[in-house]
Amino acid sequence: MEASDEQLMLAYQGGDAGAFETLYTRHRGALFRFMLRSIKERGTAEELFQEVWMRVIEARARYAPQARFTTWLYTIAHHRMVDHWRRRGLSLVSLDEDDPAFEPAASPVYEPQRQAESRQELGRLLAALEALPEAQREAFLLHEEAGLSVAEIATATGSNEETAKSRLRYALAKLRAALTEQGENVRSG
């Protein structure tokens, strides 16, 4: 039976470097994609990704398994993202509301992947994802990449469940509209 994330983190806290390696391997892809699709710049995403793991390493002595390791990990990631947006003069809160100018836009970042898939559909999805307000996109990514529940999203982002649920609902609605080409209805609603 595989050790849980919390057990691995405690083992690392006790000096087991191998436990950290296992833990890292489990979460590296999802956390990186969460960063990449939030930030949209690979270099910055890598920088923030490394910072998050460094924080995990530094904070190992204080770690207490009060919640899922994943929630703790993405809470750190959320804080790093907030810092990033602040440095850029952007606010996560100001983009929290539903964006009336919601409009899918083409992205040049993931062009190679889109060529391999249903070009039109994935393009719309990705464009819709990038066009989401930061808070909604974060809620969606936490749900999809980290597998967090609404309550855990609320915990990780420092908001209440209602807000987290609302953000996730809006995000899904917009993405759904982009996929079904019914974005006009979603925007008017």
């Binding site: 000096g15 990186f32 993405l175 079904t180």
Partner: protein, 287 residues
């Protein structure tokens, strides 16, 4: 319907791609994790840091206690040195009489000196502690000139009064009486106890000691003293004010010759002492 569509969105989202961090990034993070474990900030270094403060505090406490105890051990010396004990100062005041005057005084004094020896015996053990002798040498040497400096201009205050017995009064074995009678003797005892404090130079010490001893011997030889001699002895040791009062009293009794002699003696003793016109009139002398 929404759930089905949400599942479709998740499916499409996963189809977007599975980007992953670069190998270099993985290596850097894992290496940092291993370094952190090797350095063990929660281990030895933390232990050292944890003990730094308590050890420092303990060292300060031990040092403070040691210094305090050391000071307490030395405090008796300091008390013996600085406490303004009149009995110890009086002998030094007694020494203010020049050594050359002491023999003449002694020749006139005929007071039995047994009580003075007793008084000296009482005083000596208090100041003859080894610590007192050791610690008082430098500081007492500093203090002694100060007392000498005060003498010529500042008339002796109440500390000198016990030296002035009433003419005709017999020496009592009380504390005051002992001090009065022992006035020449403490010069000896102080000189013996603390040579540096009692005598700035060996020659002065010898002269002082000789001057101090001879009155005692003279007193012993002469037996009971007359009132006149005692009065003169009192003049020697009395304050200027009391001395002048005594001269006025002599003048009032009609003993002019004694008054003149006493006043002349006073002038020799206190050449700088200022006397008011009124008092000068009572004394019947010249200013």
């Amino acid at each position: 319907m929404n759930e089905r569509e949400d599942a479709k969105i998740s499916e499409r989202y996963r189809a977007l791609g599975r980007e992953e961090p670069g190998a270099a990034l993985d290596t850097a993070i894992l290496a940092a994790a291993r370094r952190a474990v090797r350095s063990r900030p929660g281990g030895a270094r933390t232990g050292l840091r944890r003990w730094t403060l308590p050890v420092s505090v303990a060292a300060v406490v031990v040092l403070s206690v040691t210094v305090t105890l050391q000071l307490q051990r030395e405090r008796p010396d300091a008390v013996a040195l600085y406490a303004p004990e009149p009995k110890k100062i009086e002998p030094s005041v007694a020494r203010q009489a020049p050594a050359e005057q002491a023999p003449s005084t002694a020749s006139r004094l005929a007071v039995p000196n047994e009580p003075s020896q007793a008084a000296t015996a009482d005083v000596e053990p208090q100041t003859a502690t080894p610590g007192a002798g050791r610690a008082s040498k430098p500081a007492a040497a500093e203090r002694a000139p100060r007392v000498d400096e005060v003498r010529p201009t500042q008339p002796p205050d109440s500390r000198a009064r016990p030296f002035a017995p009433d003419p005709g009064a017999t020496p009592a074995p009380s504390a005051a009486g002992r001090i009065v009678a022992s006035s020449p003797a403490p010069a000896e005892s102080v000189a013996d106890r603390a040579p540096a404090a009692a005598a700035p130079s060996p020659s002065r010490r010898e002269a002082s000691a000789a001057g101090a001893r001879s009155p005692n011997e003279a007193l012993r030889r002469n037996g009971p003293a007359s009132a006149e001699l005692r009065a003169k002895a009192g003049e020697k040791e009395d304050s200027p004010e009391r001395w002048l009062e005594r001269i006025v009293a002599l003048r009032a009794e009609g003993r002019d010759r004694e008054a003149d002699e006493s006043f002349a003696e006073f002038r020799k003793r206190y050449p700088d002492y200022r006397i008011s016109e009124e008092l000068l009139g009572k004394l019947g002398g010249k200013r």
